[in-house]
Subunit: 339 residues, 2 copies
């Protein structure tokens, strides 16, 4: 709930982690396939909060979330003969669509393991990209085990949702754009807020910000009950969420930080915040009414953090991600009915 | 319904019309107040239509529609001592918000005459910008007469919604941005589609396109039953819509083209199209689901024209305006329930 103030660890970086050079290489690979989303500014939001808010709307990204960046970069890194055997992913839906669309572009088969309670729009879109969808019970089955069985049969390549060098580097291209677009707008970024599930987008953005704008602080925002990265930053160890935790932020309800993502995040982040489902729904409604953007709950946590006052922005310049927009109509109505 | 092919009139331009120089001057005046909206591209929309579609999302403009551009430019042109007496406007809601917000920026009073059946979101937002709202019956009262009575009492300045040099020039800044942003994206524009009510946005954009990209064709898109500009282009005279015509496109259900706007449009446009309310609702739903943008019916007519196939886009590069996003939740639900 509170912003923590972590000193940067002085430990050496482990082997096998992506670097900023990987982010730059990813940017070249995804150019022409991914959308260079704009960096938006709303005079009314600025006025309301008394600061300067720069919005990175990854809901406008191909497939409706940032996930296409990492998925396409990862598929590009698989040797062609191996890629031809296909790819497999497990995902609540946004990574699913990113992998399915990337596989379609490369003309290779994709099988996606998705929770049976994922938003319909995500399941339908994943199928529309030509992928085979295998549903599992989010609370009773282990998605990794379901995916493993498929991998063993097919010889396909697993595309992990976040704990992967190529995926993290791909998501980092979002941070590269934020820093460069902010410079073009003559904005000096005090902080960047990132919607955080497994930490892939966060780690990628943090790599880019650390390289290009080291004075800028990076914060995660998570749903209450799924603040594993926040608690892991506090303890210095990867913490796990309670199995009975629930949140409407389906895109980012991961059980614990990734190994690679946390190794980067614990060194590069300034802190983390958590927001309630009601704060998130109010942010979804605000985005609809005032920003005219369709944002899903998991994509609205950063906006919720600034609208709720949990991260003070008065007199500061803050960039924040709206990480996705794949929301069912029913959920949007729930948000718009709040007040 | 069909695209007409008009030769450009060789008549001399009447006196008192804005020129491209007025558009350039307006751009300098609104800089820092209006949002430079991005020019967006959706790989999925391109793939679906087989052409290249560049989307100008004026729903992301300050106050949720392009109207702020013209309103702020117009208010800037009023001498300070006269502006201090206040401004009056009649509007279905988007011009209302643009004038109200501009008056608030200048610290002068605004009175807005609005139809009693305008979307609630537009009435509420107009009040939120500090304006006094006077409601009238759209089908029983003359809004100009209502406004005149207020003007006579107050000494305020009337800010017309479209038939005004300063307003047209301000809306033209949208066209200036479209042409320059398309150039930056290395896109050679075959055509620009503009959502058309009274024709102010169309005339302004046409001025900019004519000056900067004369080979690019400009088309209006109107709701069926309110295709007065299309029919006026065909006959060469300003035609009026039937008083019993109805459309959900509240932002652009004007009775006939403006005098100034039509004088420009008949010389600068290539033709016009009309779309049905159902085609519009499907476009509103497409914008929500695929583009992740909140677009109001009147702002979705151009998208409806390309999605319905009324303007063929295969192999072509087309820019289109999404002119506003001030839609009530109920109308959005109606669109999302269509299929």
């Amino acid at each position: 709930m509170t912003t923590i103030e972590l000193p940067r660890s002085q430990d050496a970086m482990p082997e096998g982690l992506p670097t900023f050079a990987d982010v730059e290489a990813a940017a070249a690979r995804i150019a022409g396939q991914a959308v260079v989303t704009p960096l938006l500014e709303s005079p009314e939001l600025n006025q309301r909060l008394g600061g300067r808010i720069l919005i990175k709307p990854e809901n406008l990204q191909r497939c409706g979330s940032f996930k296409f960046r990492g998925a396409f970069n990862r598929l590009s890194l698989i040797p062609e003969a191996i890629r031809a055997r296909g790819v497999v992913a497990y995902s609540s839906g946004n990574h699913a669509q990113g992998v399915a669309a990337s596989a379609q572009i490369y003309g290779v088969p994709a099988t996606i393991v998705m929770p049976s309670d994922a938003p319909r729009v995500k399941i339908e879109n994943t199928k529309a990209y030509g992928a085979k969808v295998v549903l599992y019970d989010r609370f009773g089955e282990d998605r990794a085990a379901v995916a493993d069985a498929i991998l063993a049969r097919s010889g396909a390549t697993l595309v992990k949702p976040y704990d992967d060098l190529g995926v993290i580097a791909g998501q980092g291209t979002c941070g590269l754009e934020i820093v460069r677009q902010a410079e073009a707008m003559k904005a000096k970024l005090d902080a960047v807020l990132v919607c955080c599930g497994g930490g892939g987008l966060t780690a990628g953005i943090a790599l880019a910000v650390d390289a290009l704008s080291p004075a800028t602080e990076v914060f995660t925002v998570e749903p209450e009950g799924f603040d594993d990265t926040l608690r892991s930053l506090e303890t210095g160890e990867r913490m796990t969420n309670r199995p009975d935790a629930r949140s409407i932020c389906d895109a980012i309800v991961t059980p614990s930080p990734g190994e690679l993502t946390f190794a980067l995040n614990r060194r590069l982040l300034k802190g983390g915040l958590a927001v309630s489902d009601e704060e998130v729904l109010r942010a979804v409604a605000f985005a609809f009414r005032k920003l005219k953007l369709v944002v899903e709950p998991g994509g609205a946590v950063c906006l919720a953090a600034v609208l709720s006052g949990k991260l003070p922005v008065a007199g500061r310049t803050i960039a924040l991600t709206l990480s996705g927009g794949n929301v069912d109509a029913e959920r949007m109505m729930e948000a718009l009915a709040l007040d």
